[in-house]
Symmetry: C2
Subunit: 370 residues, 2 copies
């Protein structure tokens, strides 16, 4: 099958096509080629297609890196750091970011911090060294020295999903506190007095805020939070499953579990399923569930489930838009701002299984607060 | 909250720290700094930490782009194109790629083709223009002109998950044919004669190969494939759900469904769940399921389910390793090769629900074929 050496042949020195070659091939002016290549607005679709075909036919490429070093030119790269790509939530965020940035002719250089601030610092230093024009970061929490403007050499930074104390940059976050508060209040109204909290590390912005909402709802209802039912620090499904298994083994187990993100909820569901099988009893009938964020196949959960939702892709889009405003430098003196996206809650009860095609009841989305 | 202008201050001209500054700050030689920064092997962990701390304290950055333009230096960027990041499978592949590349001091520039060959071509042209050293691509299928060595300017390319006819490069794929064949044979042995196939587009490498395995098992058993039960072309959960809903509405519905990837299986499960609710009957007891690839919460599926699994992260790692061999140019004349990763099958039956902690039976992994 292989014809060895194919790969190598292309490396031999040969004439590199220029913009003029492309223009001649496409039958347009070099200026038009240049305009298409720089993603200019005032080019017809037909023209663009012609030029793109010729670019491909001739194998023409701009030297983007060389361009970025000339004054007034930009690398076109945006560095994005998420904490955990195994969570489909971040895949959605990333899709939203990519959608807006590619419209603006930018590409994403990508890294995962795995919730480790040191890895985050390494990634950011690396991205800045690669002349990225901007950064979008889901901060892991913890030390934030590497996020200071001097450390970034002034490269604009936008936070997505989380914010970090002491770092004053644009951010898009979710209304975590109220989302968690409202869903906890719902469980309390149903009469639950032993509600477990399974969530990620105390140092994580969203973990902190969702716990705050959980506490607020308890305080408002005059019900104490029970420390033995609070498990914080699970960053993946596996550790969440372990935490939930321990909760279910308590002498007095919880009657409800709030999973403060989808990884924690999925882990808790796996633990409930396994414990049900082991004991030969249906624990889903006894433990009411509530989740912050959706997950695949949530309709298969054989018990009552409330889900706090928001639009992850929109969050990504908004983060990219905030960054582009800074990159275009239209209002360099604009104070930083935080956009908080609203959540909504949907509840599915086994007793009232719905027919397909009818949507589960949804509370009205809250207005975005500035 | 905001102290406006914070972002701007950092842009003022100031002295840029040099390697010597870092060396002085860390109390090591400039050579050591240089060695740490280039990811050299012969540096102790202590030394590395010292240098990294000083780099961060001073805000030193190498100009990676400038380096890449000097002869003999490399950009350190690898372009990665996947077809659909909403599928957690590709998130796993990407994690594997990132793991190996970051050890080798390379970063990933990332894009999603959304199964569109034209978008794939645009991404690759863009990456090549940005001086990426190498490319790892999950090809969307369809036209492949843009994948030819001349179009890539000889930038090494590795295929992951799929291969593309007529493009002779290194590839890591899964033993799709045998995986699909074995799981279909299992259903046929159980007596199923109306097995539906729900999978992605005919033009997609894996869709093609898994269908081939499905057909082979039928041929071996002397059972005809029923065209009305074959639905190819679903690339996401939503379209798969629609296809499965149609199958379940047939006068003579299938007694088993093979989902040729996890998006198709999840869609089919959603359709089964909805149809069960609508008809007030448990269709999971009547329709046997088999899936190529795992998905979250598969244990909640209330019916018999077989899953063909393989290690997606390992697939990503292997793709990155193949690319690094080419980048290091150790054996430039080595013929291209395709590594086929083995699959295994696990089956969970509702009638024999297992206790937690005991693993479901797993067939032995097949040996990798070259």
């Amino acid at each position: 099958m292989a014809e060895p050496g194919n790969e190598e042949r292309a490396k031999e020195p040969r004439t590199v096509p220029t913009i003029s070659d492309v223009a001649r091939h496409a039958g347009v002016s070099p200026m038009t080629v240049s305009r298409v290549l720089s993603g200019g607005q005032h080019v017809s679709a037909t023209m663009r297609r012609k030029v793109e075909t010729s670019v491909r036919a001739l194998g023409y490429r701009r030297n983007e890196n060389a361009r970025s070093l000339r004054p007034g030119h930009r690398s076109g790269l945006v560095g994005v750091v998420v904490t955990n790509l195994a969570n489909p939530y971040y895949a959605e965020v990333l899709e939203g970011i990519g959608e807006i940035l590619s419209e603006a002719n930018r590409r994403v250089v990508f890294g995962t911090s795995h919730e480790d601030p040191e890895e985050e610092a390494r990634l950011i230093a690396d991205f800045v060294g690669r002349q990225t024009e901007g950064l979008i970061v889901v901060p892991a929490g913890g030390p934030s020295e590497h996020l200071r403007p001097e450390q970034r050499h002034g490269v604009p930074l936008v936070f997505a999903s989380r914010r970090q104390d002491g770092v004053d940059v644009d951010a898009v976050i979710v209304d975590d506190v109220r989302g968690a508060e409202r869903v906890t209040a719902l469980l309390l109204e149903e009469g639950h007095r032993r509600i477990a909290f399974v969530g990620n590390a105390v140092s994580v912005f969203t973990g902190q805020r969702r716990y705050e909402g959980f506490e607020r709802a308890h305080a408002a209802a005059g019900v104490p939070v029970l420390p033995e039912l609070v498990r914080r620090g699970q960053q993946d499904i596996h550790s969440a499953e372990t935490a939930a298994r321990e909760l279910l083994a308590l002498d007095e187990p919880p009657t409800a579990i709030f999973g403060a993100n989808n990884r924690n909820m999925v882990g808790a569901i796996k633990a409930l399923h396994a414990a049900s099988a082991a004991r030969g009893t249906d624990l889903f009938a006894r433990v009411r569930l509530a989740s912050f964020d959706t997950f695949d196949l949530e309709e298969l959960v054989p018990g009552d489930l409330s889900v706090v939702t928001h639009d992850a892709r929109e969050l990504g889009r908004t983060a990219a838009e905030l960054l582009l405003v800074r990159l275009q430098g239209k209002r360099p003196d604009r104070p930083t701002r935080t956009i908080e996206l609203p959540t909504s809650i949907r509840t599915r009860r086994r007793s009232e299984e719905r027919l397909p095609g009818t949507e589960p009841a949804q509370e009205p989305a809250q207005a975005a607060s500035p």
